[in-house]
Symmetry: C2
Subunit: 403 residues, 2 copies
């Protein structure tokens, strides 16, 4: 089999862990597999580099930040290649530019435009293990970085470019669960999950795999396995719906713990003014999540939306500044809320799912403040104090603890 | 003026020092000069990276060591570029490959083959300050490092490639002295010195500038100034003899403190066998310095040579292994010796210089064990206990404390 294995910062966080990763890779090579490795920077190295940059400069230059941060993966790739050679496995490190990872000419959060598979392909065909720096690429002769989720995306995109069979993402969790095991005692690890479900879960706060990496996998049809480098357990396969045996109505439950609701009450009916507010919020990097609009009287509109609790003050200030333009009557806000979501590809053809979720929430007296739905997701905003019992109730209601 | 400024690891050893270097560069830019900067890795970063490599691997792979070590200068160049931008100076970091530094395809101690000046030239012509990583280059798509004295050599070679007016080497000493000021109280800083004298001094243990960098400067006629980044004092100009006003007979006194003498006594007269020993020593990285051969009787030859004290055991073992082939009668060795040397371009036309040195040594009862001369140098091996007084006596005898 031809595999791309990706190890995150925790997995290569020390010399000892790098040796453990090398042993894991060596085992696969000795079993006859062709292996390409993608690694992140060692644990805290990125924080250290950011600290240095702040100590020399009060401003921020994205080109130089990228040049600086890219050294993190160069260190871990060289060290892992050395550790592999020490075990008798031929290996060589590849920076982003050496591995042919071309990105758009943007610093800090560049998207991969194309990967020239030739350098890595040639090396792996020669019997060696290429150790490729994740998170980085090159554009117009300058080093670029991919931003959050970058190393996972490198691994998935490289799997596609190399036409490899599988992309294994090694992380500190051992797979995708039906719910966060720290919150729901009966949470169960999934054997497989579709790209679409994984994308919803990733966007709903499940930290297993960054949405960018899932999107890239979906676009290229790359089979991804998420598993841990700290044990020899099976992980979760992320694949397309078509290749899964029967779709579950609900695959998992996700949540965001600290959510706030903002309401603009009694606005005259005009779409343009509303767009103004959300543009101003986006410009200030306030992440607006659920948006609900309802017409209460014929002439006025109420809009409520959720933001992260940490953004409440900023959001209220922005809304205050737009008071005259938007002409709302009241500005309300409420904190201490949580968002609970169910995700499942089988939901599309099962109309009673939302109703079943409301019933499960009602059973634990969790009042639903807001509802938002997509084809394979239902999200409800409830009081934070009900979150734990709501998760248990919903998990139980959809029998997620059972195979 | 168009200047290349090189700052060593001590000069960029902390965030605070990087800011100080940035301020120094900014002053020159604001005075209207065009400046290109070359930097080494931050103080202890190389040791830390070597430590990590030893923790992951018991063997040593030169390609990966180069990939690993090259990150050191990438960090310092990015940080210095940020610090310059913070002072309002347009700046960008350049790795070795980005700066067009092509080397021979050798890892660990590659020589620069050519520098394509275009990328750096374009940036400096656009009004920016390129901050170039010293010590590194590229060969066949792989990162290479230049080995000891590498960053100085990068700076000098880049000055030549760019046809810049001057190469300023900032280091922790403020220039070239007539003798080590820690040993000779009356030592005086030289205003200028010729490439040839500097080369002899560098090879004789004066640590101001690596011989490779001096050789490169001599070959391309690059004017080099050695000065300190910790004060605003004038440094020493290294230039060609022709441009100096009147050659001094003796320019400076150098020494190596710990030297050992090995003697092979009573060998049959055959050049080939002798070559064998020195080849074996070279293969084992033993650095043989002074070699003296004398014919005592008609049929046999005595050869004595010096090595560093730390290499004595290894040297004796190699000689023992060759005993049969070389057929010497006795193998002698002596430690506790030092080498003292005088260097001066004016020596060529002054035949009494060696005699004056012997007299100065005799005046402090320092017996001369070995003598070695070149056109602009006389070296004597003496007992270590006489070194301090011998340095004073020779320095005084040639009136080096006077302008």
């Amino acid at each position: 089999m031809f595999i791309v294995q990706k190890f995150g910062g925790t997995s290569v966080g020390s010399a000892q862990r790098i040796r453990a990763v090398a042993a894991r890779v060596a085992k696969r090579v000795q079993a006859g597999d062709q292996v390409v490795v993608v690694v992140s920077a060692m644990g805290h190295s990125t924080d250290e580099l950011v600290g240095l940059s702040q100590a020399v400069s009060s401003t921020r230059n994205n080109r130089e930040m990228d040049a600086l941060l890219a050294t993190g993966e160069q260190v871990s790739t060289a060290l892992l290649a050395m550790a592999l050679q020490d075990l008798g496995v031929e290996a060589a490190s590849f920076t982003g530019w050496q591995a042919g990872v071309r990105t758009e000419p943007v610093h800090g959060a560049a998207r991969i435009e194309a990967i020239d598979p030739q350098p890595v392909r040639t090396y792996v065909d020669g019997g060696g293990v290429p150790v490729v720096a994740g998170f980085q690429g090159i554009a117009a002769g300058a080093v670029t970085t991919l931003g959050r989720g970058g190393s996972d995306t490198t691994a998935v995109a490289l799997t596609a470019a190399l036409k490899a069979d599988l992309c294994e993402i090694y992380t500190d969790v051992d797979g995708v669960y039906t719910a966060d095991p720290r919150m729901v005692a009966t949470a169960r690890k999934l054997t497989d999950i579709s790209y679409e479900e994984m994308l919803e879960l990733a966007n709903l706060g499940t930290q297993v795999l960054h949405p960018r990496a899932v999107e890239t996998a979906k676009r290229h049809g790359v089979n991804v396995v998420v598993r841990t480098s700290f044990a020899d357990t099976e992980g979760t396969v992320i694949t397309d719906m078509a290749s899964m045996e029967g779709l579950r109505v609900v695959t998992g439950v996700a949540f965001e713990k600290e959510v706030a609701r903002i309401a603009l009450v009694g606005m005259p009916r005009s779409e343009r003014q509303l767009a103004d507010v959300f543009t101003a919020l986006a410009d200030s990097q306030v992440n607006v999540d659920v948006i609900v609009q309802s017409v209460v009287k014929s002439e006025t509109v109420d809009v409520s939306f959720t933001v992260q609790e940490a953004d409440v003050e900023r959001t209220l200030a922005i809304c205050e500044r737009s008071r005259e333009r938007i002409a709302y009557k009241e500005l309300l806000h409420e904190t201490g809320l949580s968002k609970i979501s169910i995700v499942g590809a089988g939901m599309i053809s099962n109309p009673g799912v939302a109703a079943q979720m409301f019933a499960a929430l009602e059973a634990v007296s969790a009042q639903v403040w807001m509802v938002s739905t997509s084809e394979i997701k239902v999200s409800c905003v409830i009081d934070q104090r009900h979150l734990k019992s709501a998760l248990d109730s919903v998990h139980e209601s959809f029998a997620l603890h059972q195979e």
